[in-house]
Subunit: 554 residues, 2 copies
Amino acid sequence: MKNINNSKLKIIPLGGLEQIGMNITAFEFEDSIIVVDCGLAFPEDDMLGIDLVIPDITYLKDNISKVKGFVITHGHEDHIGALPYVLKEINIPVYATKLTVGLIDNKLKEHGLLKKVKRKVVKHGQSINLGAFRVEFIKTNHSIQDASALAIYSPAGTIVHTGDFKVDYTPVFGDAIDLQRFGEIGKKGVLALMCDSTNAERKGFTMSERTVGRTFDNIFAEHKNTRIIIATFASNVDRVQQIINSAYKFGRKVVVEGRSMVNVIGTASELGYLNIPDNTLIEIEQMKNYPDEQMVLITTGSQGESMAALSRMAADVHKKVTIKPGDTVIFSSNPIPGNEKAVSKVINELSMKGADVIFQDAHVSGHACQEEIKLIYSLVRPKYAIPVHGEYRHLKAQAEIAKNLGIEKENIFILSSGDVLELDDSQAKVVNHVQTGAIFVDGLGVGDVGNIVLRDRQHLAEDGILIVVLTLEKHSNMVMAGPDIVSRGFVYVRESESLMEEARHVVENSLDYCMDKKITDWGKIKNNVKESLGDFLWKKTKRNPMILPIIMEV
Amino acid sequence: MKNINNSKLKIIPLGGLEQIGMNITAFEFEDSIIVVDCGLAFPEDDMLGIDLVIPDITYLKDNISKVKGFVITHGHEDHIGALPYVLKEINIPVYATKLTVGLIDNKLKEHGLLKKVKRKVVKHGQSINLGAFRVEFIKTNHSIQDASALAIYSPAGTIVHTGDFKVDYTPVFGDAIDLQRFGEIGKKGVLALMCDSTNAERKGFTMSERTVGRTFDNIFAEHKNTRIIIATFASNVDRVQQIINSAYKFGRKVVVEGRSMVNVIGTASELGYLNIPDNTLIEIEQMKNYPDEQMVLITTGSQGESMAALSRMAADVHKKVTIKPGDTVIFSSNPIPGNEKAVSKVINELSMKGADVIFQDAHVSGHACQEEIKLIYSLVRPKYAIPVHGEYRHLKAQAEIAKNLGIEKENIFILSSGDVLELDDSQAKVVNHVQTGAIFVDGLGVGDVGNIVLRDRQHLAEDGILIVVLTLEKHSNMVMAGPDIVSRGFVYVRESESLMEEARHVVENSLDYCMDKKITDWGKIKNNVKESLGDFLWKKTKRNPMILPIIMEV
């Protein structure tokens, strides 16, 4: 593949670089665009009421004739979660490994898109041709099965994209990461490596998933007389497999609880990624037929999510499971940053009910630490380094690693979403910036809540609202009814009667003032009311509620 | 001291056991009550708009004639922060060590209470008599100077309360914890030990504060050519001392930035707890007269607090300090649970500005780990163990330690706030439960925001509000004006015009229905509007905004 006309390759991240999640990157060469991943992000704390965040794909819509397909590295939400929303806007084919397609199909089904969108299963080692590109799927290891790195071949050169990965020499299911192939591709010459940065601040090597299985065996051996409840990530099929293995070994039945857990296990075992011995899995209703010491519950809620099964058990509002003294509860997970307090709350509640809570050594990360990152760099030996997947601090930590491995500083690019990095063998630089952004999903609404609405929600959340209503006569502007003041989220009205009464006087004075000064413009009257009431309340309470004057006319 | 009439001692925690912070415990013997600590708690995530949380002291008010004084263990907010609020309600004397009184005085000054409340400085080793009680202050180590454990002598027996503590054999300032005295008191017989549980889940020993000084020296030696900015807790005077020591050693000037930092350093150096070499401290305005490599900035903001100095520097909105490439920024702190994301945000912003951010090895905890807890138990050898200070999981971890040290299970008490634990040498049990609770401080308001107001704020935060206003004629109930719908925090109105138009029709239909059915009761009309509009919006958007119908009458 020789690049005769000297066209350059463009790499355009459309999300994923300013936050964890929402991974989506376009690769463009002449009239071909392919898109790697299409993830969602979970809302930040200040995005009140927002359910999900998805990427703005204006750039893809504007160039829709060029877009050949989505290539998906693995089935986690931050890589596939925005697909159903995006595919409603641009219907292009999706390429991924079998389990990943299975998980995507679940989503498309929910959104009624299964018959409308083309999906194609690709095996590790296989390549697909998409316009000017050829994309090869390379086996990696991660906290979900069937994860892939991608070798993206273009006339301008080869890009290796690791996706999320770790190096697991002894995986629970299937093969170890195909290090040979990374070496082989590297040997032929790689333009750029886009490598997972999530754990780039952590020294050493991530432990094998298999070590968690040994921990389970130990815990099962030590807690032979109690019920065991294990919370983990629904998508970590290998983890579930190891729990099932330990359960089988120790003669326990397994119950699966939590909607997403049931879904993923269903899909994984249907597709052959999970090996469940006969008569091991039972329905939750059958639990009562077995003594505690013959039961294992696998459940969602390892992040303290308030609606998940484990949190409901801890809060005593789960319909079918009641925590009792002696229960052994294992958190097979680490709290994701931001979830620490929620997890701690669940641990406290479980402890109060007498459960023995174990949260150490029952988890390993799915991401490469520093030594693994160095290994991949050393196999691939790219000219350019483009750290991906992580917050800025993580990207910078990988940049530091790349520098120490001898990659020249000016060949390391920490990109921002929207940057257009143009590169070929002779040069790489950011030449342009395209529109990107975060679109909020709230209930059924996609994009109908934006920053102004969020700012209002924050204001309302902080100090509540006072609504001032009055009815004016059309021509005279005489007050016919009101002013009435109604408040929500401000103070206990019953205990603040005198304050509210004074507030009413302030409004009346303000209206008298407008009358005297012959101010008839409603906008000005409203502003006057707003300012005088706002000043009064600030002086009295040091609070700043939203004030909303409404004038009616009869 | 023999207990002739067989009266029992009562221990009544009035806060601090269901959450971190808000420590306050009453000790009652016949007609004497003393109160240990009077702290505040910081609001949980769901306490929208709340500034502080203070304890409900109804029990003390109801028994005010018995209350002899507050005995304060140390000057952290979770032990002194509620004092100014509580002292406004019950004016009783306060006993504490010198620095602790100094920090309390700062608070009383702000609240105009300095002349109204009696404070008395107590030295380590001294005792005070308060009714039936004698209270001895025992030297301990903690992340603030002048921390004390208390030996509380009563006719029913002796209680040892550790306060927050660690064992530091090589403290930066003053003496190590008075282990001999713990042993001596223990030898004479101790009824109950109330011991800090914060780090009871952590194995081993907490490192000496002095180790952080060595880390600073190393970092200063490695970063000779850059400006150094160090964020830490304002109250950790020893930490500040060690920064000043390193600065002096390496020929740097020190600037202190952030209001609470300036305050604490002022108080600490006035009282002789901080030793600042001449010409070392300079004003922030003088900074421009020195090259970067001769500057150290000590700043607040180590927890990512959005209004603190470091956060403002990171966000480029600090008036006097601009972060530049090459700056070395040290986080001399660990994120307190719940602050992880905020801290990470600041680290990302600093990194993006080219700063070199160091957040490892520059902090040690102020709380005892498992081996230190065992040490104190072994010196005090109490009959009863009452773990304090920590979430339930931490209390339980200490209970486990106590059990392993041979204390009988039925002599270990994990109390709840409000429990009345009655004890003497023969028996201990919870005999009663008194009123306790969390009172919200919002601006100037204390207690005027409660759960209903918070629930409204949460509702408003989640989905916003729709206000439906209409004017009816007095007798006929004819609609004279409206219905008008105004929304905030719901949707972009401009992009949802048709939705709002439809909503208006729904309201009109609802009013027509009421008219037809001759429903004239305003409450019923409002309910009808609320329900039909609520149903419509849920169907259309899967959102549930607050709906507030307001009827005016002309």
